[in-house]
């Protein structure tokens, strides 16, 4: 059995400027923030980031790492709009491929299933098709004479052909993992993390705690081990690695910190202070800082 334990720095070391990176989680929930912070500290640029967007997008845009974002939204949940993302978009610093969040799911699924697209009604009639002129429609080959036709209105119907969202690398954060690369989500929602891994060439899991192979059933029922080791290449023990996003049952969202993050978009001085304290530091320094009373 191979031991897949690695480090956040080694994960970032495998990535290259210009790559397409998928980031798991949803909004400000269970985001692999330790890796996001390491990406912010890195020399990487021109990334295409694919995510159900939260503060991962805001931070990577604020630190100039991103050329393009593929998303259906960016939100901090308890704060509806991420001001760092808004600033990046309104100042024209980043491109966006904005799609319906269900289309996004199908794009990951198509990549994971190794088909070039999946058909969907989602997007038809909307400006998703006009702001993304490379998106194409597909006509159903099943016409009025087909024994498979379920409803006449579906005869040779035109649907959106959501293209596969192939990822060079994907990073997710889970509650537990084992040394072999199986991973466990103990919170209420797995989001689309298994599909991010399925869509990617290189697949990394950061986790609150790494246990021995076969021991994840001591942590929770077997059906919470939704990631098996054929889906992963590297595992990192990163306690607090999703901070400040929500990672139940280990911890909730750090709302006070999130407010500080959002406020740091207000002016250059506030952002410099935030970056100095929370980004231009090692992960262990970061974890120590967030346990102290805020400086501001």
């Amino acid at each position: 059995m191979s031991d897949k334990r690695t480090t956040v720095d080694d994960i970032v070391g495998e990535l290259r400027s210009g790559m397409t990176i998928g980031i798991g989680g949803w909004g400000s929930r269970r985001k692999p923030m330790a890796v996001v912070r390491a990406l912010c500290r890195s020399d990487l640029t021109d990334l295409t980031v694919v995510a159900y967007g939260g503060p991962d997008i805001g931070l990577l845009c604020a630190t100039g790492k991103v050329r393009k974002v593929v998303c259906g939204f960016v939100t901090l949940d308890s704060i509806a709009l991420d001001p760092h993302w808004r600033a990046a978009r309104q100042q024209g610093r980043v491109e966006v491929m904005e799609v319906d969040e269900g289309m996004f799911f199908q794009g990951l699924q198509a990549a994971a299933w190794r088909v070039p697209f999946l058909p969907t009604r989602a997007g038809l009639g909307s400006d998703v098709l006009t702001v993304n002129p490379d998106l194409r429609l597909v006509r159903s080959p099943y016409g009025a004479d087909s024994p498979f036709l379920d409803d006449p209105s579906d005869a040779e119907v035109e649907l959106v052909a959501m293209p596969a969202l192939h990822l060079d690398a994907a990073i997710i954060h889970t509650n537990r993992a084992d040394v072999a690369g199986n991973a466990q989500i103990l919170g209420p929602d797995t989001f689309f993390d298994p599909l991010f891994l399925g869509a990617a060439d290189r697949r990394f899991v950061t986790t609150e705690r790494v246990v021995e192979q076969g021991s994840l059933t001591d942590e929770g029922p077997l059906n919470t081990v939704v990631i098996h080791r054929m889906m992963t290449d590297g595992v990192v023990e990163s306690p607090g690695g999703a901070h400040f996003t929500a990672n139940p049952p280990d911890y909730g969202r750090d709302e006070a910190f999130q407010k500080e993050y959002a406020a740091s978009a207000g002016d250059a001085e506030a952002w410099r202070a935030f970056a100095q304290r929370y980004l231009h530091v090692t992960e262990s320094e970061y974890q120590a800082h967030v346990k102290e009373p805020s400086a501001s």
Binding site: V74, E101, T120, G125, F192
Partner: protein, 256 residues
Amino acid sequence: MSDDAGVSRAESCVIACADAWRGAGEIMASPFGNIPALGARLAKSTFAPDLVLTDGEAALMVGAPPLTARPEELIREAAMPYRSVFDVVWSGRRHIMMMASQIDRDGNQNISAIGDHAHPKVQLVGVRGAPGNSVNHPTSYWVPDHSVRSFVARVDVVSGVGYARAAAAGAGATRFHDVRRVVSNLGVFDFETPDHTMRLASRHPGVSVEDIVGATGFALTIPDDVAETRLPTPEELDLLRTVLDPTSRRDRDVKS
């Protein structure tokens, strides 16, 4: 300010939202914002008992608890992670009430960006699930600040799809397309016109037709006799005030 029956504007809005789910049966009601959330809970507590509501996280919850209920007070009946939400969306067993930063005469909704999408003047949350929702199941909208800035001639970025755009996209878009109603702080609107453009369905008590026309950036169809949004029954009003919203969150979203 209240009307003669002592019903506030926010309470009229809740009733108008609740009535969107009348007769809906066993489907998921997905309300966005406090007023639609109260409407869905009021409907489930009274005339639409089979409605399915989520806990706002990843589960379906039993009953219609108060808005102030803490997560540990909720009783859950089934799991509903986001992956399963899409199964519900694409099965059609859902009537969502989304918010709209802009809405137009055809029922197009915008929550993506104000201005040119390539260089937005104001970046909003993003299209989210609006394109897929609007062509898969009944979709309504809640606009808490009815003005010429929210009720516009043409939305800047079509997120939720209106009638003319759906028709132009063909049968794939129209088969399940059903934009039902728009509830604003001034009135209720539907698309029951020959060309499926927006019509004033009712004005809330205390609001005049002129108020609505003046706050709308396009020509509404105005019936000869404009109904007034119905008043809550005494039972509904009591339920709303004492059980569902005892701390009057409704008044934060809509001023009387």
